[in-house]
């Protein structure tokens, strides 16, 4: 029974992909045997090997989902099981009782993801566009200025001191946004992309028509470079969504804890979520035993679900993005 569920989940993951590749996938080969193809037995063995690898990669997530629906008693008695004897929604009900802090963390994560992505896309594309234009007099200097940060880093401690002492960002939302906003690597990728995809003649003609540099950028460059920009946006969205490190460094205030960091804090004990909350003892007693383990796993599910759901859609762009960015000209 649960095995069936597994295949269903993986089908659900793969379905949109098949649709995307549907046209290409339907044409092929089955009718005749291309001599270039593998022997069927070899093919079956390879399929099996890769299948095991593929399952290893997604299995833990499915396992966590199962645990989150296991009753706490069952966990205490039998451990984490693939086929639990007793299913239960307690974990999710329990999390619902702490929805305030859960939603706040979700809110923080969504806010930093959106704001951060917008900020970083603009900063990176501005910078990359400027250093991609041959008319820009100081482009060599600014290219090196960005590139050098890839070679030599300031190190954790000085960065920490700058952010906390000089910029005074500790326990502000900006501490979660700004340190991740730029990345020399993305600048270089975007620069290459601009050089490749934007021809000088289009700019020439726009200039002849009297368009200002800003207008050229927003009305010509931006639409032309959308695939590259989408890639950068995707990278940085994922970066912000998955970030816990900056929160670990700069955030103590429980109101500003993003989702990933909340997950870290409940690792030792779930009660962190109750801080600064008025939970009546009544509510507590709704549960005979607090579903400690399953509730943590339910949190993992809730935090991963947005990625797991949107993943089949964006992974195509991600793979494309991997291949656009030859670092060198």
């Amino acid at each position: 029974m649960p095995k069936l569920e597994q295949t269903q989940t993986s089908l659900a993951i793969s379905k949109p992909l098949e649709e995307i590749n549907g046209e290409k996938a339907k044409i092929p080969v089955k009718k005749y045997r291309d001599p270039q193809h593998l022997h069927p037995v070899t093919n079956a063995i390879i399929s099996l090997l890769l299948g095991i690898l593929a399952i290893t990669c997604v299995f833990p997530f499915i396992y966590v989902i199962i645990i989150s629906f296991t009753s706490e008693e069952s966990i205490v008695r039998n451990g984490f099981e693939l086929f639990p004897k007793e299913w239960s929604m307690d974990a999710y009900r329990y999390l619902w009782s702490m929805k305030d802090s859960l939603f706040r963390s979700y809110g923080v994560t969504i806010l930093i993801t959106i704001l951060g992505t917008v900020i970083s896309v603009f900063m990176i594309t501005f910078y990359a566009y400027a250093i991609s234009r041959p008319q820009f007099k100081y482009r060599r200097f600014f290219t090196f200025f960005a590139f050098f940060t890839m070679l030599f880093s300031g190190g954790l401690v000085p960065t920490y001191i700058v952010v906390t002492q000089f910029l005074d960002l500790k326990n502000t939302i900006w501490a979660l946004i700004l340190p991740l906003a730029m990345n020399a690597f993305y600048i270089i990728i975007m620069r290459t992309f601009f050089i490749k995809s934007v021809s000088e003649s289009i700019l020439e003609s726009a200039r002849m028509d009297g368009a200002s540099e800003w207008r050229i950028f927003f009305q010509i460059i931006f639409p032309l470079s959308l695939p590259g920009i989408a890639t950068i946006a995707l990278f940085s969205t994922l970066g912000y969504w998955n970030d816990w490190f900056t929160a670990l460094l700069y955030i103590d205030d429980p109101h500003l804890v993003p989702l990933q960091s909340l997950l870290m804090k409940i690792e030792a004990n779930l009660e962190f979520m109750r801080q600064n909350m008025d939970i009546s003892i009544m509510q507590q007693s709704l549960f005979d035993t607090i579903p400690q383990e399953s509730a943590k796993m339910a949190m993992v599910v809730i935090a991963t679900l947005p990625i797991a759901v949107s993943y089949p859609f964006f992974q195509k762009y991600f793979i494309k993005g991997l291949t656009i960015g030859g670092v060198k000209e």
């Binding site: 070899t42 645990i67 200025f145 952010v163 490190f245 990933q260 796993m297 993992v300």
Partner: protein
Amino acid sequence: MVLPGTIWLLLFSYLPMFGQVLAFKKFRIDPDGFFASVINSEWVGLDNFKYLFSTNDAWIITRNTILYNLVFIVVGLVAAVATAILLSELINKRLSKVYQTSILFPHFISWVIGSYFVFTFLSSEHGMLNNILGWFHIDPISWYNESKYWPFILVFMSLWKGVGYGSIVYLASIVGIDRTYYEAAMIDGASKWKQIKHVTLPMLKPLMIILTIMNIGRIFNSDFGLFYQVPRDSGALYPVTNVIDTFVYRGLMNLGDIGMSTAAGLYQSAVGFTLVIITNYIVRKIDEESALF
């Protein structure tokens, strides 16, 4: 247009570089603000470094960082190339896409989530591995206290997260290989295995060399999340899980020893910088096109 980016680079990259001088100072907060704190802190010369290298830690973290990275580079390369070749040879292309999708999935999962995934297997009370051991009447193992297993666990997890990304990079390159090479090889009677050995692998060689050399250049940096989150910051495991990055972090946040952790950070940056320059120089010698700069 470069202004916002330049300001950011100045604040978040160049100011910290300047802050590296703290490695030679005894940091003291000055009421007049950041610059005063840095400038007025007392010079102590190489004391921080002497202190750092007098402890056993310096040796352990350097050894761990380098050894783990070497293993990751070798195992990661082999696994990624092998997976990419297998994916490219599958007859059913739709199945191949499904596999790619699953294999890449861990890449998008943070190490916080990854550490929960590991926990479901290794938890000493409820974990799957101890349950399985129980069926064979083997005593449960307290995984998070037994350092001898962790080198394998960490390598496995690094592969788990990284193989998808690596294989797709190589797969993109394999797809780009001109089919006529294979046709010519077949006319000459080359078996599939020979085709892989004499066409695919040589065609991938430049990419393999470049990526490996870039990785060697970063051999002093490690994936903080892997070494901090996955072992759940377990003290018993420090001898095999402590790397330079985690050492610097703990020095700063747990001990508050700014001088020594800055020194360790500068040690990392400086050696890393040197390695990148050297490896790039070597790449230049071999193949100028592939050099980073």
